[in-house]
């Protein structure tokens, strides 16, 4: 019982800490709370906005939707990842038919390369888009912006992004069983949508 009360008191103290710190600052600056200016109110509000990330993600989804085609957008909306076809051919016959390999682009996870014809997982490419402004902290892009950045990097200059990525065998960050299940989900999703001529996915 005493332990529970102590825990509750600790939680209350943590929750009240910002208010207490604010009150101390106001007392030190000699300004009572009721005389705070609108600017002070805005500054206080900008300290933490619980809706900011949600709104940023909503904007990111709209941006992604406006950039990719309808199939890719539906894929991301329904499955949570986008498939991007690889541009290089492994054999002469690859140049005319379906791509020899493709990528699965996940938000905030490595890009996975695989062989669409067999479902074989090739490798995972760990890539991120760090804050270049150096504002401190460990910020990252909203999930849909991360997917869009990977999509743009892969479709515009596949070699450059692959060169910059850290290459690992699948299994370092992705669970191979989960990726295989995603490929199965993708195959089922495509089967329901009707035949797609660009990439043939083997059901496993």
């Amino acid at each position: 019982m005493l332990l529970a009360l102590l825990a509750l008191a600790l939680i209350a103290l943590v929750l009240a800490a910002p208010l207490i710190v604010g009150a101390i600052k106001r007392r030190r600056s000699g300004r009572p709370a009721r005389h705070r200016s609108a600017q002070d109110e805005l500054e206080a509000l900008s300290l933490y906005d619980p809706g900011r990330e949600r709104r940023a993600e909503q904007r990111a989804r709209e941006l992604l939707r406006s950039c990719v085609n309808e199939e890719e957008w539906s894929m991301y909306r329904d499955l949570g990842f986008i498939r991007v076809a690889g541009k290089h051919a492994r054999r002469e016959s690859d140049k005319t038919g379906a791509p020899a390999y493709a990528y699965l682009v996940y938000p905030h996870k490595p890009i996975v390369a695989y062989v669409p014809a067999s479902g074989q997982l090739l490798s995972e490419y760990c890539v991120e888009f760090p804050d270049l402004a150096g504002t401190g902290g460990r910020h990252r892009l909203p999930a849909s912006d991360d997917v869009l950045a990977k999509w743009m990097a892969l479709t515009s200059d596949e070699d450059r992004v692959i060169r910059r990525a850290n290459l690992h065998l699948v299994g370092r960050q992705h669970d191979p069983a989960r990726v295989r299940r995603d490929l199965w989900r993708l195959a089922e999703w495509e089967r329901r949508r009707g035949p797609r001529p660009e990439i043939h996915q083997k059901s496993r």
Binding site: R55, A56, E57, R59, A60, L63, S66, C67, V68, N69, E72, A85, P110, C126, V127, E128, F129, P130, D131, L132, A133, T135, G137, H139, R140, L141, P142, D145, L148, A149, K150, W151, M152, A153, T155, S156, D157, R160, V161, R164, A165, N166, E198
Partner: protein
Amino acid sequence: MKPGHGELLLAEGDPRVQEDEERLVEEFRRQLDEGMWAAVPVTNPGSGRREAQLIREYADIPLEAERVIFFPRASGG
């Protein structure tokens, strides 16, 4: 795209208007100087698929492009 914020509007204007274009060029260079990559989503005339076109110079921006998206350059994670 800015980590921690998402999409931000940097500049807008009509590139056919000289004053606007100068502002757009200045912002374009500033973003590239900061190390951002610039791309324009386009439709590949051959395959019909959507893809991004990397833009290295302001002059490379397709005339029909409605926007240029700047995003942090990729690095190994």
